[in-house]
Structure formats: structure tokens, C-alpha cells
């Protein structure tokens, strides 16, 4: 920005500029502070009578002033220390408190996973459900030579007959009054029936 005219700077020094003119000169002065200062000093009309007033005046009881300031400063420091002492330092548990929530969530997730793992093992290990020998036999066997044992489970009931005479293969027939998909199957000996008319 160009240096303003001398008359403009004089007006500025005398505080007679306003609005855009003032803003313009101030912008120039901000960019060129040393030049502005030098010109302003050259052009200003100082009030030299004020130089009779002393620049420095030692206050009454200066050492006492210093002592009072020191006392106030020390009490400021003491207040700061007391504040630190009164404010309890956080304990280790409170410092680690932020860990509680994620730890709890992790524990819950672990329990859930373990629970599902156990449930699956129970399911895979059986299909074979636990066999229990039932005390209540459903089969009547007249021959004393044949013993019956019955095993019940969720998926099937198994009846074991001990002491039967062996059955020849030719005599065996897989017969069922129902479709093969049905759960009921039985084996019977073939017999020839003769009908007389």
C-alpha cells in the first residue's frame, strides 16, 4: 500500500480522520509500523509541559510493598498446594475403573460362547441319547428260555431277546404294512398256508 500524503498523516496524527480514510491510513500503519511511528513522531505536537511530571515515583514504604506482594504470592502458592492435597489422588481401582465395562462385556460373551459349545456337544454326541434300561417290558414272551431286555431312548426303543432259536434266512421276510419311511418295521417268519375249499 502506498504511503499516504503528508497532510493525511498530519490529520491522522491529530485524530481528525474518520471512516474509510482512517481505515486506509491505519492499514498502511499496520503494514509499516516503523515508518508510521517515525512520521507520527515528527509531525505530532507533544505537550512538553507534562515532562515536569516524574516518570517514576518510589511508592511509600517500598520494602513493605515488596513484602506484601511476596506474602500474597506465597499464599497463592500455598492455596495451590492445599488444593492438590485436598483433592484426593485417584486410587488404582478408580484409575482402572474404565476397564470394568469392557471386561464385563467380554465375560458375558465368553459365557455365551461356552454355553453354546456345551449345548452343541450334547446334541452331536448322541443322536445317541442316553440308553436307559426300562423296567417296564412291552413284550410278552411265553417261553421261559427267552429273556427280554428293553431299552428306551428319545429316538428309539430297543428290545433285545436272548434265547431265541435261530431263524433261517429263507424264512425271513421284511414285511411291513406301511411305507419304508415309517418308523415301524418288523421281521416275521414266512409260513405256507393251506386253504381247503
Amino acid at each position: 500500500m502506498n504511503q499516504p500524503k503528508k497532510e493525511t498523516i498530519v490529520d491522522w496524527t491529530n485524530g481528525e480522520l474518520e471512516g474509510e480514510a482512517l481505515a486506509s491510513v491505519e492499514a498502511w500503519a499496520t503494514e509499516n509500523p516503523a515508518m508510521a511511528e517515525s512520521l507520527a513522531n515528527e509531525l505530532e505536537d507533544p505537550f512538553t509541559a507534562l515532562t515536569t511530571l516524574p516518570k517514576e515515583v518510589e511508592p511509600p514504604y517500598p520494602d513493605f510493598l515488596n513484602a506484601k506482594i511476596r506474602q500474597a504470592a506465597e499464599s497463592t502458592v500455598a492455596e495451590g498446594v492445599a488444593q492438590e492435597v485436598l483433592t484426593p489422588q485417584p486410587s488404582i481401582t478408580s484409575k482402572l475403573q474404565w476397564l470394568f465395562v469392557p471386561f464385563a462385556l467380554a465375560a458375558m460373551a465368553a459365557c455365551f460362547v461356552l454355553g453354546t459349545q456345551f449345548a452343541q456337544k450334547e446334541k452331536i454326541g448322541g443322536g445317541v441319547a442316553k440308553k436307559t434300561e426300562s423296567s417296564e417290558n412291552l413284550v410278552y414272551v411265553p417261553s421261559e428260555k427267552v429273556s427280554v431286555r428293553q431299552f428306551d431312548s428319545k429316538v428309539a426303543t430297543v428290545i433285545v431277546l436272548d434265547g431265541l432259536e435261530p431263524i433261517a434266512d429263507d424264512d425271513l421276510a421284511m414285511t411291513s404294512g406301511k411305507e419304508p419311511s415309517d418308523s415301524v418295521r418288523w421281521v416275521a417268519k414266512k409260513t405256507r398256508e393251506t386253504f381247503w375249499y
Binding site: 511511528e37 507520527a40 511530571l53 515515583v57 510493598l65 511476596r70 497463592t76
Partner: protein
Amino acid sequence: MNIFRHFPSNFLRGPVGATGSGGEMSGGRSQDTDRILVEQAQKGDYSAFDKLVTEHRGKVYAMIVNMVKNDADAWDLTQDSFIKAWKALPKFENRSKFSTWLFRISHNVVYDWARKKKIQSEGELDDNLFSAADIDPNAKTVPSQPSSPDREMEKAELRVEIEMALAKLSEKHREVILLREVQGMDYKEISEIIGASVGTVMSRLFNARKKLQTLLSR
């Protein structure tokens, strides 16, 4: 006659009355010293801050007493200024002059005090808070050099007249003219202290000078 006034009561400041000479160092060296002392004080060394107080209390007190025209209030406000400076010292960045920053604090202290006084006073609407009647003609000052009694009396009378005229200015005008004509600060420093632009500083200076000339020419 007190011959002891010629001996330094404070080795930093030199003999009593030796304002602008003797114990006062050149501007650049004083600034460097201030910077070093501020750094030490910021690290917790109170003796360094004590040296800063001793170095600057004269200027701060002179400025404040010319503003408030009361020795007791000026003493309290000087103490308050330094206490605030100690508390705010950790925030001082030590890039600008310590004296400018200190004057800024004392400016705020004086204005806060004046505001409270205005609130407490009854029915006082005039901005010229400080009346000429508050000036003590026997106010203690430190003459530069002993001179003849007649000359001393003339100077004392002129000083009283000037102080009475200053008291009739508004606070804003009085402050800028004291900072410029008495403390010898440049426009940029004054603008930092009062929190206004350089243009505002010049405007107030011009008006203050004009009004003073009018008052003193009566």
C-alpha cells in the same frame, strides 16, 4: 539537609531522585534483563520476580498515582497489579516487553477500581471521576536535582497546575497522555496497553493535548 538521599537506597535504582539516570539501564539491556528474570520467575524463582517488582514499581506507582490522585489507593492498586502479574506470569509469553504487559495489568486494575467506585458513589454521572479537589498540593514527588528554593517553588506550582488540569480530563484521555508524554511509550505499546487501535490512540492524544492547552492557558 538529607545527604543520604545521594546514596543508593537500592543498588538497582541508584540514588533517590535519579530518575532517568543512575540506576536505570539502557532500554535494550533492561529488556534483556527483564526477559531473563521473567523466565526465572516462571520457573518458580520468586527472588527473580522480586527484582522485577523493585525495577518496575516506581513506574507503575507513578502512573497509577497520576490516574487516581490518591497515595493510599495508588499504593493498594500498585500492590494489586503486581499480585495479578505474579498470578498471570505463567501465561506471559515473554515475546513482548514485560513493562508493557505490566502496564496493561495496571490499566485493568485501575479501571476495575474506578468502576467499583462509580457504582458505590451516589448520583455521580460525570465521567470525570477525579475532581481537582482530590489533588493534594503537598503530594510527595521526587525532584530530579536539588535547585534553588524559588525555582523549586515555581516547579511545584506548575506541577500542581498541570495535575489539576490533568484531573479534569476523562480517564481515557488522561491515561494516553500520561503513557505518551510521561512514560514515553510509543503508539503501539499504548495501543496494546489500552486495548485500542493506534488510530484511536492518536485521536485521544490529540484531544487530550488540546484540552490541556485550553485548561492551562486560562
